[in-house]
Symmetry: C2
Subunit: 188 residues, 2 copies
Amino acid sequence: MQPDSSTKDARRTELLNAATELLATKPTATLAEVADHAGIGKATLHRYFASRDDLMLALGMLALDTVAHAIRDASQPERGSALDMLTRIIEALVPLGDKLHFLLSESVLDTHPDFTAADRAVQQSMLHLIQRAQSDGDLRSDVPAQWMLHHMNYALYATWQSVHDGYLARKDAARLLVTTLLDGFAAR
Amino acid sequence: MQPDSSTKDARRTELLNAATELLATKPTATLAEVADHAGIGKATLHRYFASRDDLMLALGMLALDTVAHAIRDASQPERGSALDMLTRIIEALVPLGDKLHFLLSESVLDTHPDFTAADRAVQQSMLHLIQRAQSDGDLRSDVPAQWMLHHMNYALYATWQSVHDGYLARKDAARLLVTTLLDGFAAR
DNA sequence: CTTAAATGAGATAAAATAGTCTCAATTGAG
DNA sequence: CTCAATTGAGACTATTTTATCTCATTTAAG
């Protein structure tokens, strides 16, 4: 009868997550492959997303939502310094590497104003956090915050990939990444 | 008359460089777009590379050759420590970021044994260099060399992109990347 | 159970892309 | 200059992918 909107939403999200999983590692996958991987018929896929472009936009938006949500959850501004917050955020984002793919290397999304605007907002909030850590004297001030952010984004993605490909233990990943970003590789 | 093989080779390489330029930022570009961007007709493109797959493989191989060559040139084993060599290599690789794209995120190439073997060889030589720098006490020994390598590869690509997109001065790039990798972001 | 909505499978149509072919124009070696 | 090779433009075909449509089956609310 009446479609239960919450159920339908959940199904839609599941579908998007399955699509993310596949497209993050094989961006050229066919819509038929996406439907297969999600375990649904391609007709159904089209009922949820009229075109490939629609799907890509939804994927970008979900990625953004998920990341933004993780950042909010990990922030807990009342607890700890800006650097502590950043550390918690990094730990929270490593498992979301497949979503990050859409924020870093999906040039199709660059043409969607909705997406680019929302993306800018998320990046901006991260930038402010980095700048606060610089003011606190916890992060170097002789390195541009913008650079740190960009570098961090790619490092997050690379780390997720290491875990995904089986070269790095999931539980080691965040710690290794944080020490790499903060302390670098040089021996002291 | 007789085709001058060196001229023809040079033209082929120019073609590949143009293709690299486009496909590194827009991996889904059409063959017609590739031909356009290279300033040639698509018929000619097909005369050099029978299929898209052929082109991709040639791009991967050129990327590998270029990178391997840059590494050899920058090495100069007689001059300086392993860490010095690594630093020179990083400086040399930043401008080759578009080539790196094919070594990092072109899943099509994973199915070409020729490519994966050659890639493995290059990565292996870099790994040995990192391990030497660890033995020398110049790089931390409590961080896996394999991880450093993987992280470095992505950092190189991210840096090239920053320059390419105009967010980072070409002349600042290598220095910033080296200090990031070696010293990290934490204030001392 | 009943029934309307949602789904899957696959046929089909439409569109995009890859790849082939022809021919006139250009190039470059001799 | 001459001539054979190479090229570019675009028509054309083949193939792949996207998108639509139909209909029998499944699902779940009431």
